[in-house]
């Protein structure tokens, strides 16, 4: 069974492009050449059959195209008596194996000298092989805007001398964090319902694990994404948001949970205890029945110390409420200065509701509603407000809600 063309292209794009950039030393030239080679393949392969080594075929074809172009431009320049300073002619050796330089590529795309939105776009385009219009659609910006963003980023890589290499040891930590942050951001965009981005982030996460198998945080990120994503099918029901506790567990993707846990185990075996590993461990505990909230609260505590993030502390409050009751959770929440954060108010509302403090709960839900512009979240909060209006009419005591 031969993989369909699209799939081969998808699989090979990043590798072919990375190799070409390595050979040619020029992002744009490499991308044009790769695009040409893929177009030639799309025409030739269905007719002549897929070559035995598609990657080598694509890389060779692209390199030959680029060489032709460089020669043509040189000939033209000589003809017009221009000085030719550029002598990056690729060596015309016929090799069948090319080095895998995707890692160099990803570190270039995620270089901190590029704006974050450019890093994201460039990573999806170069490594992920998404077309400009696909990236534009995923991020809800006009295609022209996205195209300009990519052009500007590539221009800066060249003009500013952003290196095409894996950072040396003393920079690796910091630069790897930047790469992981880009993948995480892509995943988060997808978590809001744009499935293709979540799938893309997982694909990138897998590629990174393959390239950096000994980095626990890389595996931690992949584990976390797999575990969260395993619940994708149950997070919405007819377009309405469903909370974790109300989700139909039988529809969670058991295979993906197992894959996520396996990655987590490897990360832990590598001594990982970084933010992504901790988040993966928490996601793994969330998938257990019964859920070990005490352990989750501890892990959030550790994560909070690492990141100093009040959002993490808010999550800890939820776990604390499960262990020591809503009052204890509320005490944690009320120490946080996150007044413009909608989830602070929805969390407070939830805890107040459980304590039977209906009026305060309604006020908090209303505040959360003011702060969100997401349709599904608004409808969810409206539902809660309606339920509370009913229970205010007929007080039902301080029992746990749903």
């Amino acid at each position: 069974m031969v993989a369909p063309l699209d799939q081969v292209f998808r699989q090979e794009w990043g590798r072919v492009l990375a190799t070409l950039i390595g050979v040619l030393g020029d992002f744009d030239l490499a991308e044009d050449a790769a695009q040409e080679a893929f177009a030639i393949a799309a025409a030739a392969w269905p007719r002549d059959g897929t070559p035995s080594n598609p990657r080598a075929w694509l890389t060779r074809t692209a390199r030959n195209r680029a060489t032709d172009r460089i020669r043509r431009e040189r000939a033209l320049a000589t003809k017009f008596g221009l000085l030719v300073a550029d002598d990056r002619a690729p060596a015309p050796i016929e090799v069948t194996t090319f080095p895998d330089e995707r890692l160099e590529l990803v570190f270039t795309c995620c270089h901190p000298a590029l704006a974050l939105d450019a890093q994201v776009a460039l990573t999806l385009r170069s490594l992920g092989g998404l077309r400009t219009d696909e990236i534009a659609r995923a991020f809800l910006v006009p295609e022209r805007t996205m195209a300009q963003r990519l052009v500007r980023a590539k221009r800066k890589i060249k003009a500013a001398g952003i290196p095409f290499r894996v950072p040396p040891a003393h920079l690796l930590r910091e630069r790897l964090d930047a790469v992981l942050a880009v993948v995480y951001l892509i995943y988060n965009e997808g978590y809001g319902g744009r499935d293709e981005l979540a799938a893309e982030a997982i694909w990138l996460g897998r590629a990174l694990v393959e390239l950096l198998p000994d980095q626990p945080e890389v595996r931690g990120l992949l584990a976390m994404m797999l575990l969260h994503d395993s619940r994708r099918e149950t997070r919405f029901s007819d377009g309405e948001l469903v909370l974790l506790e109300d989700q139909d567990r039988s529809r969670w993707d058991a295979e993906q949970i197992a894959a996520g846990r396996a990655e987590l185990d490897r990360a832990l075996a590598l001594g990982g205890r970084g933010p992504y590993v901790l988040q993966a461990a928490i996601a793994s505990l969330h998938a257990e029945v019964p859920c070990d909230w005490a352990q989750i609260a501890l892990l959030y505590g550790e994560l909070g110390r690492l990141t100093g993030s009040p959002v993490v502390e808010l999550n800890r409050a939820i776990a604390v409420a499960e262990v020591d009751g809503p009052e204890a959770g509320l005490r944690v929440v009320d120490q946080l200065g996150l007044d413009d954060f909608r989830y602070l108010h929805s969390t407070r509302a939830q805890l107040l509701r459980r304590l039977g403090r209906v009026e305060e709960a309604r006020a908090a839900y209303r505040r959360a509603r003011q702060l969100t512009d997401d349709g599904a979240e608004r409808r969810f909060l409206d539902r809660r407000l309606r339920e509370l209006a009913l229970s205010a009419a007929a007080p039902a005591g301080a029992g746990r809600g749903s």
């Binding site: 500013a160 001398g161 952003i162």
Partner: protein, 115 residues
């Protein structure tokens, strides 16, 4: 690659003035170290932006105003040329400039040949 390194003082001069003698010595030594770094061509030392004069020509008339083109706080405080392999190497040198750690900043501008 050739880079023009622009040093912005912002609050750095004031903060450095408040340092101990020992720390000030360190700052001077660090600037000396930058100047002696391979690839660095030191710029001519710049006077204070207060003493700058800005010139425009409008309709053939030369107009001068007191002070730097941008605000006093945003004015360039110094510069040097750096010949380095790539941006990462330039970032490492920039991070050693004392102004960068005392509230100022270093801007790395790749040099370009336009004609």
């Amino acid at each position: 690659m050739k880079y023009v390194m622009l040093v912005y003082q912002a609050a750095a001069m004031e903060r450095q003035a408040a340092l101990t003698d020992e720390e000030q010595k360190r700052v001077r030594a660090d600037y000396q170290g930058i100047n002696e770094t391979p690839g660095v061509t030191p710029g001519v030392p710049m006077g204070l932006p207060e003493n700058a004069t800005t010139v425009r020509v409008e309709g053939g008339r030369t107009l001068t105003t007191d002070g730097p083109f941008v605000g006093m706080k945003e004015a360039v405080g110094g510069w040097f040329i750096l010949e380095a392999d790539d941006l990462d190497a330039a970032i490492e040198v920039a991070a050693r400039v004392p102004a960068a750690r005392y509230g100022g900043a270093v801007e790395i501008r790749p040099s370009e040949v336009y004609w």
